[in-house]
């Protein structure tokens, strides 16, 4: 059978720019932006006050602005990790089924473009919108920090903050790809939005606890370790592996590695065994530490997109 003719990218830029324009001018996006700025401003302000009051000498002052020490729930990082999925779902949940409901799908697909261009254009436009929002927000926080703290960030801090931005965009991409996949699978936009939000709640609230339980079931704790007050390595491995199925866990681990150089949360056990003392990890070591999480997030985004792509290609155009 001969190859299908023509480029699958034909019309991609047309779809991309129209969708981007739609996103940037939509009321929906305005509301989401407003939410993020409001929450972000509040927590960053409190973080800055805390830093001004307590910290005298800290090599990573700017990082504390994003992730204050002491596992505060009201940190910028926590706000972002909650709001970014909502933004991404808000941009993607009606990407494909919205076209069917408006009855524009068959009209658009009867123009000389492939379905590839339509779906990829929508995905790229969503990701670009999210990137624009996150970069703006990131710059705002840094600008606020400059004004409020009065010290410029060091080169290493800038590097860590840039990596944090990249990880956040990848995290947003995972949720965007998921919501676009759901918009292909469900013909009703309301169903797609509900399922996406349900999955988000499940993965970020229930799954971490469930992963602990399941790990215990699959590989029960050994009494000998428990008596020493240590977790059983096998159980811990299962629990960690399972909880990492949630993009929220992966994102959290990567962010901690980037923004808390002295926490070493993932390797505490290892560090204890090796008798290592908690000194800040150098930047390159932090990147190595967060690398698997970052790759997993990007891979997850690609896999979800591809599943949505295949489903969309096989879909009948008529309802």
């Amino acid at each position: 059978m001969p190859q299908r003719e023509g480029s699958p990218w034909r019309g991609l830029n047309v779809v991309f720019f129209r969708e981007l324009f739609d996103h940037l001018t939509s009321v929906r996006m305005l509301v989401l932006e407003f939410l993020v700025v409001l929450f972000g401003a509040a927590v960053v302000y409190f973080a800055a006050e805390q830093i001004r009051n307590t910290t005298a000498e800290d090599p990573f002052l700017f990082l504390r602005l994003f992730a204050p020490p002491g596992q505060s729930l009201l940190s910028f990082v926590v706000v972002i990790s909650i709001l970014v999925p909502i933004m991404a779902i808000g941009l993607g949940f009606d990407a494909v089924n919205g076209e069917y409901n408006r009855r524009t799908m068959s009209r658009i697909l009867s123009q000389p473009i492939y379905r590839d261009a339509l779906l990829f254009g929508k995905f790229l436009a969503g990701l670009t919108t999210l990137t624009i929002c996150l970069v703006t927000l990131w710059l705002l926080v840094i600008g606020f920090g400059l004004l409020r703290l009065g010290i410029p960030p060091g080169a290493e801090e800038i590097g860590r903050l840039l990596m944090f931005l990249v990880v956040t965009i990848a995290y947003a991409g995972v949720w965007l790809a998921l919501s676009i996949l759901l918009s292909v699978v469900f013909r009703s936009t309301a169903t797609a939005a509900l399922v996406a939000l349900g999955l988000w709640l499940f993965l970020s609230l229930l799954w971490p606890a469930l992963a602990q339980m399941l790990g215990e079931v699959i590989s029960p704790s050994d009494m000998r370790f428990a008596q020493l007050g240590l977790p059983t390595p096998d159980t811990l491995m299962w629990q960690q592996g399972l909880s990492r199925l949630s993009p929220g866990t992966l994102y959290g681990e990567a962010v901690v590695a980037m923004l808390n150089p002295d926490a070493q949360s993932m390797t505490t056990l290892l560090a204890q065994f090796q008798g290592r003392i908690g000194s800040p990890l150098p930047f390159d070591q932090s990147i190595i530490q967060a690398w698997p999480q970052m790759v997993s997030l990007i891979a997850g985004m690609i896999v979800l997109y591809v599943v949505g792509y295949v489903a969309f290609q096989r879909q009948e155009v008529r309802a």
């Binding site: 059978m1 001969p2 190859q3 299908r4 003719e5 023509g6 034909r10 019309g11 047309v14 779809v15 129209r18 408006r102 009855r103 524009t104 068959s106 009209r107 658009i108 697909l109 009867s110 123009q111 000389p112 473009i113 492939y114 009948e316 155009v317 008529r318």
Partner: protein
């Protein structure tokens, strides 16, 4: 290259076990208006989607302007305009912006877009509302905007799926007039409808669909001759001696019914009113009424399914 713009050969589409389109073959010539007619669910839209490469073909072949829509969809879609059943637009955008988006997708050079959009809107009578949001448009206006999109695209084949459904009689006749004007431009038009009567007047040839098959194919008078035997019903009211015999001697008359003391019904394969009048006058009778009923697609369709097997002729 032949003069046919669309050719299908034993075209078949199955969804699982259900057969939506069952081995249909037909051709549409250059500049012809071809009607795919039949009840809802007879396979008309599926056939159209296969021509556009929007759904896979199970077996058989289809060629549009010599291209295979399955393997060369871009070539086909570049030269074919499609107006879907209940066409939709982006409601929050103006009519012009909607067309501008499609123009960019088609690949019309940016310099030409405004001009072509304006002239297309003018031809369908929407030039005054081009800057209004489509959300405020009536159904008839949306159909016309869909037609403007096809005009803007400058195609050689236009495929219209149920273009008149849901329109009031006035909007329908306006739309049919626009379809005729497409034909005058040399565009071949393939239109589908379940309202046989309304589109009968514009179609050069029709294919009557029934449960995925083409039951009848040809011009309306041809089908009338084939199915109804005659096609023309001439009603005569006249006095006179031996009229029934005189009528039956007229060339082309198949049967004569005497439905009343001075009323006759002639079944003929052509319009025999002049000959009937002559017959009455020659018999020395008084002619009171002479009317002809042209064959209707509804009558043909119903008659065909009453006589053929009696399987579900639901409309």
């Amino acid at each position: 290259m032949t003069d046919n713009v669309i050719e299908t050969q034993a075209l078949t589409k199955r969804y699982g076990r259900a057969t939506a389109v069952d081995g249909i073959s037909f051709t549409v010539g250059r500049g012809e208006i071809f009607g795919l007619l039949g009840p809802n669910g007879a396979g008309k839209t599926t056939t159209i989607l296969m021509m556009l490469g929007l759904t896979d073909v199970t077996s058989g072949t289809v060629r549009v302007l010599g291209h295979d829509p399955v393997r060369e969809p871009l070539q086909v879609k570049r030269m074919v305009g499609y107006l879907p059943d209940t066409v939709g637009f982006y409601d929050y955008m103006t009519a012009e912006d909607n067309l501008r988006y499609t123009a960019a997708l088609i690949g019309i050079p940016a310099a030409d877009r405004s001009k072509r959009i304006a002239s297309a809107l003018e031809r369908v009578g929407l030039q005054d509302v081009g800057r209004k949001h489509v959300g405020a448009f009536s159904r008839g206006m949306r159909q016309r905007l869909g037609l403007a999109e096809i005009l803007m695209k400058d195609v050689s084949v236009a495929i219209l799926d149920e273009p008149t459904s849901g329109l009031d009689p006035h909007a329908t006749s306006e739309l049919l007039e626009m379809i005729r004007s497409l034909k005058r431009d040399g565009v071949a038009v393939l239109l589908s409808s379940h309202l046989l009567e309304r589109v009968q007047s514009v179609c050069d040839r029709v294919a009557l669909f029934h449960s995925g098959k083409i039951a009848l194919l040809g011009t309306v008078p041809e089908l009338a001759r084939e199915v109804l035997g005659g096609g023309y019903n001439v009603e005569v009211e006249a006095d006179g001696e031996g009229l029934a015999v005189r009528f039956s001697e007229i060339a082309g008359v198949k049967a004569v019914d005497q439905s009343g003391p001075a009323r006759y019904r002639l079944l003929a394969d052509r319009d025999v009113r002049p000959q009937a009048a002559v017959a009455v006058v020659n018999a020395g009778g008084a002619l009171r009424r002479l009317s002809v009923e042209e064959p209707s697609l509804d009558a043909i369709y119903n008659h065909y399914f009453q006589t053929h097997g009696g399987h579900d002729a639901a409309a």
